[in-house]
């Protein structure tokens, strides 16, 4: 496997401008350097360092067969905050997200390198029980994917597979999760009905309820609104706001407004590299890299 080529000529770019607050770092030709496959250091804003970290990603690399999709991604996800991943299609945001709960294990050709830790525990490694790991992480997918069972059984599914039989516990978790997902008032009278009969927006909130039922340490949202209409999207965004604080959320989105509205921190990715990572306000208003500014203002090209 080809490793990252280090070109001496461009190594100057890799000396990051950490510490230079809210000022434009003069690094020309970042995209060109990435396209060439040069080594590249992420512009990480120092504000991240002050946060308590729930999920650490260190020099993470991933290959689909022989094609490398992630290149030395290093980032720290703060606890109790919403962090969004943005970037053009195919930049590896979803891939990175799916690495957190090791969903990429399901694809035979995937190979990874680097470290990830969840509250200090390694995510990758021979001794890690992936089933136990996934129980600590909630995930919501692009398209709502309720299971072919009742609303109640959908919500308590994570507990069911853990062998929980106590009806009282299950009912309590169901109500708490549905309230958490803002679905209780709509669903409380039809808990026994099939989840597949709900509307798309309701189904997605149900999936969120399911994801938070087991009180995960991290909640992963993979473009949760891309299949929803604007009103349902608005509800989900409100919900993300409400969940902030109790849950650490990592969200992938294509929608720049959504990232700026909902998240505390934003990471911009490009061709498998993490380009710039910092507080959302700074990324959108005073990005350090011209490329980031071009992207968030829509002048990307």
């Amino acid at each position: 496997m080809s490793q990252i080529r280090t070109d001496v000529k461009h190594s100057a770019y890799t000396a990051g401008g950490a510490g230079v607050m809210s000022s434009r770092v003069q690094r020309e030709g970042v995209f060109e350097a990435i396209k060439r496959g040069d080594a590249f250091a992420t512009e990480t804003h120092p504000a991240i360092q002050r946060e308590e970290i729930v999920l650490g990603i260190d020099k993470f690399k991933l290959w689909y067969g022989t094609a490398q999709a992630l290149w030395d991604v290093s980032m720290k996800i703060p606890r109790g905050k919403v962090t969004s991943l943005i970037g053009p299609s195919g930049c590896g945001k979803s891939t990175l997200l799916r690495c957190v709960n090791r969903m990429n294990d399901l694809i035979d050709s995937v190979r990874v390198d680097g470290e990830m830790t969840l509250n200090g525990d390694p995510i990758y490694g021979a001794e890690v029980d992936v089933i136990e790991l996934r129980k600590r992480i909630g995930m919501v997918f692009q398209k709502p994917n309720p299971f072919p069972m009742s609303i109640f059984e959908n919500v308590v599914y994570p507990l069911r597979i853990d062998g929980e039989r106590n009806r009282g516990v299950l009912e309590e978790v169901c109500e708490r999760s549905l309230r958490g997902a803002g679905l209780w008032e709509e669903a409380k009278d039809r808990l026994d009905q099939s989840a597949l009969a709900m509307s798309g927006g309701q189904q997605q909130r149900l999936c969120i309820a399911r994801a938070i039922a087991a009180e995960p340490e991290v909640l992963l949202l993979d473009e949760p609104c891309s299949a929803l209409d604007p009103i349902a999207t608005g509800r989900i965004e409100e919900l993300i706001d409400e969940l902030k604080g109790s849950y650490s959320i990592l969200i992938v989105t294509h929608n720049m407004q959504q990232a700026s509205r909902t998240s505390d921190f934003t990471a911009f990715m490009y061709l498998g590299r993490l380009v710039e990572y910092g507080p959302t306000e700074q990324i959108f208003l005073q990005p350090r890299l011209k490329e980031t500014e071009d992207y968030v203002t829509g002048r990307f090209g």
Binding site: K135, N145, P146, F147, P148, R160, A195, A197
Partner: protein, 607 residues
């Protein structure tokens, strides 16, 4: 349609408006007829129409013949030129080309007239098939009566100048009675006397009929009582004798022939046998008493064949004066025949009576087959689709499974006979039923082995359907389950299988349809012509999976091609076919109902 006019491919043929020109039609490039797709519409529609015509035709034939068989028809009487009288029911009518000598036998000028008349119809004349019954007099059940040979009714001698037609030739004797007997088939006659013992009670037909109706039910009850004594009484004692013998035999097998225990066991058997033989003698006496009581009443009939015949009342299953009764009575007889057909045992080498054992055997066999094939097929398909690593080996297995569906079913029968009966069953006999040897228990055809053979036969159907259903479960659902921390098996059992259940049911429906109609392998592994003992009954141990059984499909084959009296059996072939189709439809409707319920629950989302 003018050349160069593009037709919207979404429009049907009727919408291809003549001469209409769409804006921007490219002129100069001719659309060929083929490109327009008109011939394909006709071709595909025609293919469907031909298929429909064949299906409707087949079903219509089966339905008409099957439903009309039991309708009681009038009894006709006619006389031929040779002075023979026939009495019976018309079974069939057709045209045939007579041999030259049949014309030559006609008197005088009539031969030429008949010739000329036949020639106007392509050389053919009519003939009727009469069910004449009275086997003891006629040695046949059916007779063909040619138009050349019939005389008009009332003619004293052959003074014909033209061919008589059937309508002018037949009479409908008012008191002609159709008698359905336990043995020897139908009987047609006119009641002449009602006897009790040797004493004549009545000679007037109306009076005779009154007495018949008065006493018939009573003697039929006695007949049923006799059956009861034979089956429940004598049969039970015989079973006890057999059990006692097997007990002694198993002691002998265990201890050796020479041992004192064996001698004691056989001695005990002998003494028990003595007691039980006494019981049988008592029961036989009882049976004789019932028989004497039941056979008191007789009816003497005048027949079309000269000699009067006396029938014992209790040998008569059903009798009715066909030309006197009205529509309501005919309907009653029709329904009572259906009732006997559906609930009774067969009589007369299966050509009369009921098919209940065959219905029961078919349904039970299909159920056992489904119970065996569905779990087996589903597990195999799950492994193929979910666990096995895709590659050349899995592809080969899949192709092999699909090709299994193309193996002739008789080969499955041979395999079932060789493997299940002769290897598997024989081993079971050696281990558990040694005292019954050399008579096989499981080592011969039986309903269990037949069901398992058909399960093998229908396995590919279930595997293919399940694989497709499992593959059709959206990947997003599996991902959602994995993301919740479910293991592979939890995902399969809680998400994939429920969601795939309707598809699996489709496989089961196809398997049932295929299995219930299969005959060839069954002939080798347990379906028999007559098996009055059902695989489920009130005799310990109640379930007898080793018993051979009757099957509707095999019954049809047996009636149609193995019957002594094939003319009489022919209508039964249609009735039985109708019944088999009905049962398959019923099984399918139940399965489809369950499937649509599951689909509402697991797929579409509306409960």
């Amino acid at each position: 349609m003018s050349v160069g006019t593009p037709v919207d491919p979404g429009l049907s043929s009727g919408a291809a408006k003549r001469g209409s020109k769409a804006p921007g039609a490219r002129r100069g490039r001719a659309h060929s007829v083929v490109a327009d797709g008109q011939p394909m519409i006709w071709l595909s529609g025609g293919a469907l129409a031909i298929g429909l015509i064949m299906i409707i035709g087949l079903l219509g034939l089966v339905l008409f013949q099957g439903l009309s068989t039991f309708w009681p028809r009038s009894v006709v009487e006619l006389t031929t030129a040779r002075g023979e009288t026939f009495m019976g029911q018309v079974a069939e009518f057709d045209l045939y080309e007579p041999q030259e000598y049949e014309f030559a036998n006609l008197p005088g000028a009539l031969a030429d007239v008949a010739h000329a008349e036949a020639n106007t119809r392509g050389g053919e004349v009519s003939r009727w098939q009469l069910r004449t019954g009275n086997y003891e007099d006629t040695d046949t059940h059916f007779d063909w009566i040619s138009q050349l040979s019939i005389l008009p009714a009332g003619a004293e001698s052959d003074e014909r100048t033209a061919l008589a037609d059937f309508e002018s030739a037949v009479t409908f004797p008012e008191w002609a009675v159709v008698v359905e007997r336990i043995e020897k088939g139908r009987f047609y006659g006119i009641p002449a006397a009602f006897l009790e013992g040797d004493q004549v009670l009545a000679t007037d037909p109306a009076e005779i009929w009154g007495l018949f109706e008065q006493h018939h039910d009573e003697v039929r009850d006695l007949f049923a009582e006799k059956r009861e004594v034979e089956k429940e009484g004598i049969g039970a004692v015989n079973r006890r004798i057999e059990r006692a013998r097997l007990e002694a035999k198993s002691v002998e097998l265990e201890r050796g022939v020479e041992s004192p225990e064996t001698a004691a066991a056989w001695q005990r058997y002998e003494s028990e046998l003595l007691v039980m033989e006494g019981e049988i003698a008592e029961l036989t006496e009882e049976r004789q008493r019932i028989e004497d009581l039941g056979t008191r009443y007789q009816v003497r009939f005048d027949t079309a064949y000269g000699t009067p015949r006396t029938l014992v009342l209790w040998d008569i299953v059903r009798a009715f004066p066909a030309n006197r009764i009205g529509f309501a009575d005919k309907l009653g007889i029709y329904l009572s025949r259906w009732n006997e057909f559906l609930r009774g045992d067969p009589r007369e080498a299966n050509s009369e009576g009921g098919v209940f054992p065959a219905i029961f055997g078919t349904v039970i066999m299909t159920l056992i087959m489904s119970i065996a094939v569905v779990p087996f097929g589903v597990l195999a398909a799950l492994y193929l689709r979910e666990y096995a690593k895709p590659g050349p080996l899995v592809s080969t297995v899949r192709i092999a499974v699909n090709n299994l569906a193309g193996v002739p079913s008789i080969v499955f029968g041979v395999f079932g006979l060789g493997f299940f009966c002769y290897i598997f069953g024989a081993s079971i006999d050696q281990l558990f039923f040694a005292e019954r040897l050399p008579n096989p228990t499981y080592g011969t055809g039986g309903i269990l082995w037949a069901s398992l053979t058909l399960a093998l036969l229908t396995l590919p159907v279930v595997i293919v359907a399940t694989e497709e259903a499992v593959a059709a479960v959206p990947g997003s659902m599996r991902e959602g389950s994995y993301a919740c921390g479910a293991t592979k098996w939890q995902t399969i059992s809680r998400i994939v299988l429920p969601r795939a259940l309707p598809g699996i049911m489709t496989g089961m429906i196809l398997a049932i349809a295929r299995g219930a109609g299969e005959v060839a392998p069954l002939m080798l592994v347990g379906a028999v012509k007559l098996a009055p003992e059902l695989p489920l009954d009130g005799v310990f141990p109640y379930v007898h999976p080793e018993r051979s059984f009757m099957h509707l499909g095999f019954h049809i084959f047996d009636l149609g091609f193995q019957s002594q009296n094939s003319e009489a059996a022919k209508p039964m072939v249609f009735t039985t076919t109708l019944l088999l189709i009905g049962i398959v439809v019923m099984l399918n409707v139940v399965a489809i109902w369950i499937r649509s319920h599951l689909r509402r629950k697991f797929v579409s989302g509306h409960i």
